[in-house]
């Protein structure tokens, strides 16, 4: 009797085990060979697509063009204290809407007067009641106006590109408020006077400043941007005037990369289709490090196990033609390049919008992506553009530093790097990433001056005097760390350096 009971238990366990493993093979791992993968094919059926749209677990977050024109940070100053808002802060969008409304009033151009201003006036305005809006990159002024809904605004015609601007209540005598826009191409400052409810503007400023102690100072306020003529003491670091330095010790959460196992066959098929590859007929092989290589349409596509995808054209000028956002994947590839104004070159706006549409086709969860290269015309080669994007979490960039190919070590890469020539994709690199907080607890970060000391010591500059273009807090991803901790970094030209010691 006892033996019979034991047999029954073992049998039940075996049946349960087989059911579990079958479930794993069929529904979770999808381990069938690709060409016969029922689970890939059935998702392409129309009724399944309809059903999947009402799937509440769908994490799809396509990005819109507007997403890339949010300011990197907004500094609100009530004359005594400052608050800094960036994407990820609770009230960022509320504040951004207020500023957009002011900017739109300017673009309308009604009762707007302008005059040339100076760098000195620009910096003095930053000391008083004001909003400082920083996009982090140079943006073509026409595109900025177009994104605000003014395709032919004449107000910004005297400006080439905008990186940052200031809104200030102006003097106390007239009713005009003042907008200072710095033309980053021409290196000049234009001052616009416009009619706007001044008391409303002052009210918004007060509403968004909640500090009663100084917590940020601009580098120019500490004269860290000036070269002192008195050479008795060696001045090693010269900071860009608009670098915002925290007075208090900053705190932030650690983050980690969500599992890349989500790159299942279904998603790989989606990636292949986004590059106009046919998943069923494309030639493919697997490299020693499990990188899958696909070859088709005069191009090569590599999907690395680390979540990096690389596309390169193999024949010059025959790369994939990027389609407008409205075009469907199934639409026939146009043989004649559509363009604005009838010329053969694709405009900056069209090129950028097609790149965004393509990114959305490749990967559907891009809420942390932000532009990190300038969106400006290429005067030397019209129609040729290189755009880079980086991941940002709570307003802080995630710097990818894990590329060790070809014997190179610690090469900094952007989350996405795209080269496009007249609408044709020359190359495309994309680190597929999603991030999440490790815990809600915030950790204190090393004071910025101490971090600058460590960074300066580590990179051993050629000359003693170094001009630092930016000082920022970021997350640094490398081959070894699973948890990404916030650390200080500096930017000198295109070079980005972090604190190697990471002492807390």
């Amino acid at each position: 009797m006892k033996k019979e009971k034991l047999k029954t238990i073992i049998l039940i366990l075996l049946i349960a085990n087989s059911l579990f493993l079958t479930n794993q093979i069929w529904f979770s791992k999808e381990l069938w060979s690709h060409d016969y993968n029922f689970f890939v094919k059935w998702r392409d059926w129309k009724w399944v697509k309809v059903l999947s749209k009402i799937n509440i677990n769908d994490e799809s977050n396509p990005i819109t063009m507007e997403h890339f024109f949010y300011p990197r940070k907004v500094v609100v100053n009530n004359g005594n204290y400052r608050n800094v808002y960036s994407h990820g802060d609770n009230r960022f969008f509320e504040l951004n809407n207020e500023i957009s409304s002011i900017f739109n009033t300017l673009l309308k151009g009604e009762k707007v007067k302008s005059e040339q201003s100076t760098d000195e006036e620009w910096l003095n305005t930053l000391k008083g009641k004001s909003f400082y809006i920083d996009y982090g990159v140079k943006i073509n002024a026409k595109i900025l106006a177009r994104m605000a809904g003014y395709k032919d605004s004449s107000v910004l015609s005297q400006i080439d590109s905008v990186r940052d601007f200031i809104v200030a209540p102006g003097d106390m005598i007239t009713n005009d408020i003042v907008l200072y826009i710095k033309d980053s191409e021409r290196n000049s400052v234009i001052k616009f006077f416009m009619n706007y409810d001044k008391s409303k503007l002052t009210g918004i400023i007060e509403e968004f400043v909640s500090n009663s102690k100084p917590n940020y100072t601009f580098s120019f306020e500490q004269k860290f941007d000036k070269v002192n003529p008195d050479k008795k003491v060696e001045q090693k670091a010269i900071l860009d005037p608009e670098i915002l330095i925290p007075v208090k010790i900053e705190a932030s959460q650690d983050i980690r990369i969500k599992s890349i196992n989500t790159l299942n066959m279904n998603k790989i098929d989606k990636i292949l289709k986004s590059f106009q590859y046919n998943p069923n007929t494309t030639r493919k092989y697997t490299e020693a490090d499990n990188t899958i290589v696909y070859v088709e349409n005069y191009s090569m596509l590599k999907i690395h196990p680390s979540g990096l995808i690389e596309y390169t054209e193999t024949d010059e000028g025959k790369g994939m033609l990027l389609l407008p956002e409205s075009a469907d994947d199934t639409q026939a590839v146009p043989t004649v390049l559509p363009s604005e104004g009838g010329s053969n070159t694709l405009s900056l706006y069209e090129s950028f919008s097609r790149v965004i549409a393509h990114i959305n086709k490749v990967w559907d969860n891009n809420e942390f992506l932000f532009i990190s290269s300038d969106i400006v015309e290429n005067a030397n080669k019209p129609g040729v553009y290189r755009f880079t994007f980086d991941y940002y979490y709570n307003g802080m960039p995630v710097i990818i530093q894990c590329d060790n190919e070809n014997g190179q070590q610690d090469v900094l890469r952007h989350a996405i790097e795209v080269e496009i020539i007249n609408g044709r994709l020359k190359s495309y690199r994309h680190y597929l990433r999603n991030f999440e907080e490790v815990s809600r607890a915030e950790k204190e970060i090393m004071p910025v001056i101490l971090a600058l000391d460590n960074i300066y010591k580590s990179f051993k500059p050629d000359q003693s005097e170094v001009k630092i273009d930016d000082v920022f807090l970021g997350f640094w991803e490398n081959d070894t760390d699973v948890i990404l901790q916030p650390r200080w970094g500096i930017r000198i030209g295109d070079r980005v350096i972090t604190d190697p010691e990471d002492i807390k």
């Binding site: 100072t217 600058l452 000391d453």
Partner: protein, 162 residues
């Protein structure tokens, strides 16, 4: 015996190094320092006068200097007629300048005049003294000045008001 000598030597070394690094607790009002090229104060701007005024009670003192220089901030004590170390939460404001050369420290001011002394020391015989008088204006003082200015402008330019 040898063990005792080693222990004594170690303790003495530690004590002496601490004493050598620590800035003096007080600085005489007449002390002018022995050197002049260790630090440069960039904020406040004291290139023309060492008297400045502000409306912000938390004041930032910043500048740059030679790497390895020890810096300490003092506040004048009228009772003893000496400058004493500023102590916040039991800690004095002193630090060593790092590789970037930059420094930035916040001090809390009291209403009225605050006589500040910054002492930068390369070694016990080489030190620089910088004295700054910071006047903290009461809140609203600046607003009264602004209001007065506007009234004058309105009256003179626009013929409004008084």
């Amino acid at each position: 015996m040898l063990k005792r000598i080693v222990v004594t030597f170690t303790i003495l070394t530690v004590l002496l190094s601490t004493v050598a690094l620590a800035a003096p607790a007080t600085v005489s009002v007449d002390d002018q320092g022995t050197a002049n090229g260790l630090i440069v104060i960039t904020n406040p701007d004291i290139s023309e006068s060492n008297k400045v005024s502000t409306t912000t009670s938390d004041y930032i003192i910043s500048g740059y200097g030679q790497e390895g220089t020890d810096v300490c901030i003092y506040l004048y004590n009228p009772t003893d007629n000496v400058y004493k170390k500023i102590v916040i939460d039991g800690k004095s404001i002193e630090w060593e300048i790092g590789a970037s050369g930059l420094f930035m420290q916040t001090i809390a001011l009291v209403d009225g005049e605050n006589k500040i002394l910054i002492r930068a020391e390369a070694d016990s015989n080489t030190y620089q003294i910088v004295k700054i008088d910071i006047t903290l204006l009461k809140e609203g003082f600046l607003d009264r000045i602004k209001g007065l200015t506007i009234d004058i402008v309105k009256e003179k330019v626009f013929g409004i008001g008084k």
